[in-house]
Symmetry: C2
C-alpha cells in the first residue's frame, strides 16, 4: 500500500483524498490544512489525520478544538508520496522541502510546467512518468484537451488543433471572484498558455488556443477544431469518444442544453459533491467536414483531474506499467 499525503485540502485536495481512499493499492496517511476552516472539519469527519502546515498553525487548530496530528514536516516522514494541492505557485516553493525529505511529489496544473520534472495525463503519456519522483498533473482544461484531442491523435492523427476555451470565473464555492457581467479575454494575447501546456503531454502537436473568462461557476467549455491526418466520419468520432474512458457524450435532444444541465446530470449520478470526472462532449456538436472535426465539450474543473492524480501515483511507483490497466482500476474504484 502506497502511503499518500495530501498537502492542501481544498477543491482538488479533498477530492484526491477521497479518490485515494477508494483505491485498493494506496491509502491516505494524512492531509494538511493551513487554517481551521469548514473544510478542515470535513477532513476530521472523514477520518483523515489532520496536519497543520507549521507549528504556529498547529496551535491555531488546537485553540479551535481540532484534533491535530502534527505538521507537514511530520506527515512527510510518514508518506511515500505527497500530492501537493496547495494554491497555484505554492507547490514550486514546497518542492525543495519534499526533495530534502526524499518524498516523491505530485503537483497540480496551477504550477508552471517546470515544477515537475515531467507533466502527466493518464491517456496521453503514462509511460513517460513511470518511476518519476516529481510530476505535475496538467490542469483541468489541459486534461480535457488531452483526453479528447489525444483520442483523435491516437486513432486518426492530428494535423492541427484550434481551440477556444470559455472558462468559468470562480469555482461554485467561491463568492469573491468575478467577472459579474463581462467577457474577459484571459489572457488577452493569443495563444493562451493552454496550447503549450498540451505540448507538455503531446510535444509535437500543432495546437493553438484562445481563452476568455465568463460569469459562471459551473464548468469550462471548449469549442474545438481538429484537422485530422486520416479520414474519419462523424459517426466514427462519436464511436471513438463513446469508447474512450473518461469521455461521455451528452445530448441536447435529451435536455442537456448547457453546462447547468450537465452538472444536474452529474448530481443525479449520485457521486459525492455532484462531481463529473469525465469530459462531456455534446453529441450534436460533433461534425466532420472534409478533414476538419468540430465539437464542443465541457470540463468540470473541480474534478476531472482527480482520477489523473491516482494514475499518476501508480505510474510514479510503477504499480503497473500499463496505462489502461491503471485507468480501469481507478475508474472502477471511483465508479466512473
Amino acid at each position: 500500500m502506497i502511503k499518500v499525503g495530501i498537502n492542501g485540502y481544498g477543491t482538488i485536495g479533498k477530492r484526491v483524498a477521497d479518490a485515494v481512499a477508494k483505491q485498493p493499492d494506496m491509502e491516505v496517511v494524512g492531509v494538511v490544512k493551513t487554517r481551521p476552516t469548514h473544510e478542515a472539519r470535513h477532513a476530521i469527519k472523514n477520518e483523515y489525520a489532520l496536519y497543520a502546515n507549521n507549528m504556529e498553525n498547529v496551535q491555531t487548530f488546537i485553540n479551535e478544538g481540532f484534533e491535530i496530528s502534527g505538521t507537514l514536516d511530520d506527515l512527510l516522514d510518514k508518506c511515500d508520496v505527497i500530492v501537493d494541492c496547495t494554491p497555484g505557485k505554492i507547490g514550486a516553493m514546497n518542492r525543495p522541502l519534499y526533495e530534502s525529505k526524499g518524498v516523491k511529489a505530485i503537483f497540480q496544473g496551477g504550477e508552471k510546467s517546470g515544477t515537475g520534472d515531467v507533466s502527466f495525463n493518464a491517456q496521453g503519456n503514462y509511460a513517460t512518468c513511470l518511476g518519476k519522483d516529481y510530476v505535475r498533473v496538467v490542469s483541468c482544461n489541459t486534461t480535457g484537451l488531452c483526453r479528447t484531442i489525444g483520442a483523435v491523435e491516437k486513432k486518426y492523427g492530428v494535423k492541427k488543433a484550434r481551440v477556444t476555451l470559455i472558462r468559468r470565473g470562480p469555482d461554485p464555492g467561491n463568492s469573491k471572484k468575478g467577472p459579474v457581467n463581462a467577457i474577459v479575454p484571459n489572457p488577452v494575447t493569443v495563444p493562451s498558455h493552454h496550447g503549450p501546456d498540451v505540448n507538455t503531454i503531446f510535444p509535437d502537436m500543432d495546437i493553438m488556443t484562445s481563452a476568455v473568462i465568463v460569469p459562471t461557476t459551473l464548468m469550462h467549455l471548449h469549442t474545438v477544431i481538429v484537422e485530422m491526418n486520416n479520414p474519419a466520419t462523424t459517426a466514427e468520432i462519436k464511436q471513438l469518444f463513446k469508447s474512450t474512458p473518461r469521455i461521455i457524450l451528452v445530448k441536447a435532444s435529451e435536455g442537456i442544453t448547457s453546462t447547468a444541465e450537465i452538472m444536474e446530470h452529474a448530481r443525479d449520478l449520485g457521486r459525492k459533491r455532484g462531481d463529473l470526472n469525465e469530459i462531456a462532449v455534446w453529441d450534436e456538436s460533433i461534425n466532420v467536414i472534409g478533414n476538419e472535426l468540430f465539437y464542443i465539450q465541457a470540463i468540470h474543473q473541480e474534478s476531472d483531474v482527480v482520477p489523473e492524480n491516482i494514475d499518476c501515483i501508480r505510474a510514479m511507483f510503477e504499480l503497473t506499467k500499463d496505462a489502461d490497466e491503471s485507468i480501469a482500476m481507478t475508474d472502477r474504484a471511483m465508479d466512473l
Copy 2:
C-alpha cells in the same frame, strides 16, 4: 430628402431613428410602436411622429394620453422606405404589406436571409444593393465578422476563417432572459448560422462558426482565426484595422481588459445610450503566425448595425454609388 419610417421603436429602431435624424439626406417621418411603453414616451420626447401598428392599438395609445399620428398603414403612405425593426420573424410577415404599398423596406438580421432580396454590409457589398427594394441588414455578429474579416479579405485574401462566438444573453435593458449561471452552446450544432450568414455578403468565403451564450448583457465577443492567402505581419494587420472605418483597437495595457471596460470607454465617449457602433479589436490579441491571423473582438450588439442601416438606405436610393462616400457621410454625421 429620403422619407424614412421606422417600424418598431425598440433596441435597434430607436437607434436607427436617431441616426437617420442626424443625416443630411434623409429624415424620420414617423415611428411605429405597438404598445404605450416608456420607449414610446421617448419617441414623443424626441419629436418623432408616433404611429400604432393597427387601429385597435391607436385607441390604446390615446387612452394612455399619447399623441398618435395614425397607423402603420398611414405611415407607409408617407415614406419612401420603411426600416423594419420589429422582433425577429415579424419582418417577414410584414413584407407583403410593404410590397402592396410600393414602399421599399429594410429588414434586420433577426430575419432569415431570404426576407430581403439581398443582404447588406456597407464595407462588404454596398454595390450589390444599389437600387434594390427589399434588403436585409445582417445581424450584429455577422456585421462584426464582415467588418474585420472583410478588411483582411480585401487586402490579403482569406483562405478560410474559423470563429467562436461568445454571445451575451439578453440586452442590458432586458431582465427576463438567461442564462444565469451556465454556458449554453447555441446552437449545439456546428457550424452555427453565423458562417452561412457571412456568406450572404461574401459568397465564396470558407468560414465556419461555433457559438455559445453566456451570462452577460454587455457585448458579444469573437475569437477569430483567419488563414490568409497572402503574407501579412502582425503590425500590418494592426495598421489595417486602425485604418478601416468602424473598427477600433482597444488595449488591455490601458485597462480595457474586458467587455465591461469597452462599454465604459464608450460611455466616456459621450454618445447617446453609451453606444459603440465600431467593432473593438484587442490590440494585444492580434497575432500572425505563419499564414494564420488570430485576434479577439467585441461587438456592441445594440448599435453596430445602426450605421449599416443608414448606408443601406443610401444604396437602395443610389444617393451615392460609392460605398466609401456613404460610410464617410454616415460616420461624420454620427461622429464615429
